[in-house]
Amino acid sequence: MTLTPQRQVSAARPPQAEPSRGPTHGGAGAYPWVMAGAVAVSVCGAALSLNGVLRGWAWYLPVLTTVIVVSLAMAVLRSVRAQPVLVPLGGLASLVLILTFTFFRRDSIAGFIPSDKTLAALGRLLRRASETVLAESSPVAPNAGIVLVTCAALGLVVILVDALALPLGMPATSGLGLLAVLVVPAMIKPQSVGLAGFVGTAAGYLVILACSQWFAPDARTQADTARNPGQIKRAALTGSVALVAALLLQLVIPGFDQGTFPQGSRLNPWGSSNGLNPMISLGNSLRSPSGDGRITYATNATTPLYLRSVTVDRFDGESWSPDDRESTRRAGAGRMDVGHEILAPEQVRQITAVNTGDFTSPYLPAPYAPEAVNGLTGRWSWDPATLTIKGTDTNSRNQQYLVLSSSPKLTTELLNESSAPVRGIPEEFIRPPANLPDIVRSTADSVTQNSGTAYAKAMAIQRYLRAGDFTYSLESPVQGGYDGNGLSVLADFLTQKSGYCIHFASAMAVMARVEGIPSRIAVGYAPGRLTGATVSVAGQGALPEFEVDARDAHAWPELYFQGLGWVPFEPTPSRGVVPPYAQDPSSGGASTHEGNNDGLLPTGGATPPATPETPPLPLPGTGDAAGNQLAPLLYGAAAVLVLVLVAASPRLVRGSIRARRLRRPASGRNGKAAVPLAWAELLDLAADYGVPPVASETPRSFSARLRRSPALNRDDGGKPEGAVSAGSVDAGRRAVITLTGDFERHEYGRPGTGQAESGGKGEQTRAQQIALVREALRRNAGLMARLRADWLPPSVMSRWGWIAGSPFRTVRGVAARVRRAVAGLWDKARDGVRRLREG
């Protein structure tokens, strides 16, 4: 299908062949316009896939105008035959102008010329964009900052694609620019690129390829493209091989479709967790395939220990995030105070030694409720309202510290008795969120309708969430499009009844508030696994060591009971451990913890030892052990494969070049072009075997030098195979002479006569002659020379080097031109002054 337009055009070419070769002869014609159109179509098509990364379609109009303006500017420059270097520069300038016009109309001169005010506004928008990227979950609201970044990036992609396709003459490579656009949704969107985006990109790319083929056909392939019946077959073959490879590779590479490269996993080069918004990173942490951010701790606690990093207490708005309360924070973490009265008869005091390893977050994980933290480096502060500990100039990376914590020993009775009205805690923990979805309120009401006390209500909510209706799943929110947090997400969760801890915790917290119980969401780690090691803690002796990592990331609600303080609950099924006070009396209370923490909990009076029980739920990412052990092996294999491909690529490229040059065209019409192609092959062949061509050399002298050179002339001495070798070398030399003669006649002879003279021999012979030369060179060359010619052919390597160096040469050329221009101007100015002085 893709080749049909090419074929039509090539068939139609002869009558109008010359005028359509716009860029080389005559006026620029339609070429720049069509090409700019193609680039614009492809980039706009690729941008379609960004829907879902950005919410809605409102952002598409600015993107569209940016792309069109930039392409148009470059097309205009090209149609007036501006210097090739100027075209991308003009594109950049037009990009700056249209961005200024779109986003900083008020902060600029005349609405589109940037000024210093524009820069300030730009800084604001960029900050906003980076906040959006860090703090929001996709799809993000298309605010001005993020749209500005999108427009700028797509404008640059237009310039890149254009530069690749036109001045550099690599239209196929221009797909890289489009791929760069597609990578963003592929990484971020759960459903990947999407059909519309892919179709748009592919269509635009094909148009680019077709346009380059129509207007500036590659001289080397030109001869083949016309009426070559094998072309469609070849294209179909290539396409199907690529398709099969894509289908098979994903089966072969483990984890490709199940967590190693999960769609929407995001690239996070800044460590396991940047922690600015734990609510966002939590889902990703849970889905992460490896246990990054490993924290070890040793504790004397007798109950399973939750490590708490931060709390979320404002449930308004689309996206929840921790409130740092910077104004009321207190410096130092040596002594902390819960700030409200605890009337419980008995306090449990615990000592925990934590080693954060490479877990990086501004918040310090600590068990609740911390009274003192010792051994920290850097400056830290704590929030009296939530007892979260945050670094003011540091983060949690590589911290070793000792937390002294205490909490009331809670029992069902105590909680049941706590019916006094809530006093002494900030209003924001009590106020139910505004614009609450109806389903939340109705669910809360129906769940708690038979409950009297606050505790009964809380238990009812927890029971409701832990009951069989709800399933724990990391995938369904992602696929259902309600990943993350927020009131609308919550509503979706209550409808779908499937999600992970953040959904369960927020559901319970919000529903509790609706029912009048102050609540907040704590984010941190569920109880970890025993490592088997022990850590000696001062004054406590050796304590067992536990470990948690990203896969243990957890969120749970904390509800406030007057006189007892903040009490954690566990509404998430199959995760964490339900504390004894929150256990349903009916459930028998024996085995209280479930899920993936089997058998690794501290054994104490309160929690009976775990018995081997239900197999752990298969979690995405954790995979089975065999798969995990196999993964590095297979990665190694894949890496080796890639390395082999890279190592073999010069050889492959060289081989394909040779095959293309020597391919026998079906019709005799192309016979003429075959002579220079064979000659080019001879030049490259000679270069491969150490006789590179010299620019000032005539074909004849090159051929003579090649025949004289050691490459075709080695003294065979007394070697037994000398005779054979000499024979083949002679044949090679003769072939060189014939090829040179053919080329000379073709290049310099009377037009038409060369055809008649060599027509009888045909291209088959030419290929054979090249083969003869090659054979002779190979026989004559040493092992190293042969290896080099095969695997690192200088003709390919040096060309690559040349291409790699082209940007530098361009810069140098421009610099030289500027220098000459300046010198010329200077001379002129001096002459003018002299003339003025004399005359």
Binding site: A687, P693, A695, S696, E747
Partner: protein, 383 residues
């Protein structure tokens, strides 16, 4: 102004009278009627006969002999410049002898008059009319010995003949014989009483050859062969002047492709842009370069010109026309070396430049090669 009447010398001089040594044996009129070109085999046979004949006389100077023949076939004139006694005059004489045509020899001396060269009108008492008595230049091959010893006036008398193939005396133009070739010799060593050829005059010679000393074997052989009688005596004409005319016609038919023309022009432009030259090659020299290249191609048995042909004759054709910059001369450059340098830097064609560029870059040697046939930046002369 009344146009000069052009008269063939045959009409003027019915008999074989004239100066001693001048045998005006009916020059062939290439200009007038067309001479059929030879086929490749006949051409090759004829050229080989001539070269063999010359080489029997002059030992070890095959290159010079071939170049002399090239100049003859390209309808140019030859300047032989070397120290005395290396066979300049012998070469000229041998070439003239191998061809069955008229030869005249002029020994240039300071007192030689222009009319001695061109001819003079003498009053005939009996017919009571002025009669034109042709000078030494009326011959197919004119050997001008030690041309730089004549006065400038006499030298320039020869100039008109060389350039226009005609003599103008008293308002009458007399056409010269065809083929017509001047072989001049001169001594490079400045001597008293010499008048070095000015640039304009040097430019009219198609090529300059330095004979150079023969190698040892050739010199020994020369001592033997030239002991008793000069081998020149034994040389007989191997081709007729008609043959030569046909050969010239063959040369004229040699095909010159666009690529070779471009290359030739590029060579000329490169010399003009060279920082080492005060005066580059003239457009006329381009014409002569291409003509010499055509003759070279024909002598090589081809009916089309290769860049190799241009390269082969470039040094001989261009070196005596260019003038070195003083700085370059002081660093020991010679015109020949400059021409060689220019040729070594000039890309033959776009393809070769493309193929070579990457390799040069990879080898890290030398400057980038310019894209098309345009000048290399390093050759550009900026003042």
């Amino acid at each position: 102004m009344e146009p000069h009447r052009r008269t063939a010398i045959n009409e003027v001089l019915p008999g074989g009278h004239g100066f001693a040594g001048v045998a005006a044996q009916g020059g062939h009129q290439l200009n007038g009627r067309k001479t059929a070109p030879l086929d490749a085999v006949a051409f090759r046979a004829a050229s080989e006969r001539i070269l063999t004949a010359i080489n029997t006389v002059i030992d070890g100077k095959a290159e010079a002999a071939k170049l002399a023949l090239t100049v003859l076939l390209a309808q140019g004139h030859l300047l032989l410049e070397d120290v005395p006694g290396v066979g300049k005059t012998l070469l000229a004489k041998t070439l003239a002898r191998t061809i069955d045509c008229s030869v005249s020899r002029i020994q240039f001396t300071p007192d030689l008059l222009p009319s001695d060269v061109t001819g003079v009108s003498i009053y005939n008492q009996s017919s009571r009319q002025f009669e034109f008595r042709p000078g030494a230049v009326f011959a197919n091959i004119v050997i001008g010995d030690e041309i730089n010893r004549a006065s400038a006036k006499t030298q320039s008398a020869l100039l008109e003949c060389m350039e226009e193939h005609q003599v103008t005396v008293d308002g009458h133009s007399y056409g010269l014989a065809e083929p017509f070739m001047v072989v001049a010799t001169q001594n490079p060593i400045e001597m008293e009483g010499t008048y070095p050829l000015p640039e304009a005059q040097r430019d009219r010679f198609m090529a300059r050859i330095s004979m150079g000393y023969p190698d040892k074997d050739s010199e020994i052989e020369m001592l033997e062969t030239h002991q008793a009688t000069s081998p020149l005596e034994r040389v007989t004409a191997v081709v007729t002047s008609a043959d030569v005319a046909a050969m010239i016609a063959t040369v004229q038919q040699v095909f010159v492709s666009e690529a070779v023309k471009e290359y030739t022009v590029a060579v000329g432009r490169a010399t003009r842009d060279s920082a080492m030259l005060r005066l580059g090659a003239s457009p006329r020299s381009m014409l002569q370069l291409l003509r010499a290249a055509k003759a070279t191609a024909a002598l090589d048995g081809r009916d089309f010109v290769l860049p190799d042909d241009v390269v082969a004759v470039a040094e001989s054709v261009l070196a005596h026309r260019i003038i070195l910059d003083r700085k370059a001369a002081s660093t020991g450059e010679t015109p020949q070396s400059v021409i060689r340098g220019v040729l070594a830097k000039l890309p033959i064609s776009q393809e070769m430049a493309d193929s070579a560029r990457a390799h040069r870059q990879a080898a890290g040697s030398g400057q980038p090669v310019p894209r098309s046939g345009r000048q290399a930046p390093e050759l550009r002369h900026s003042r």
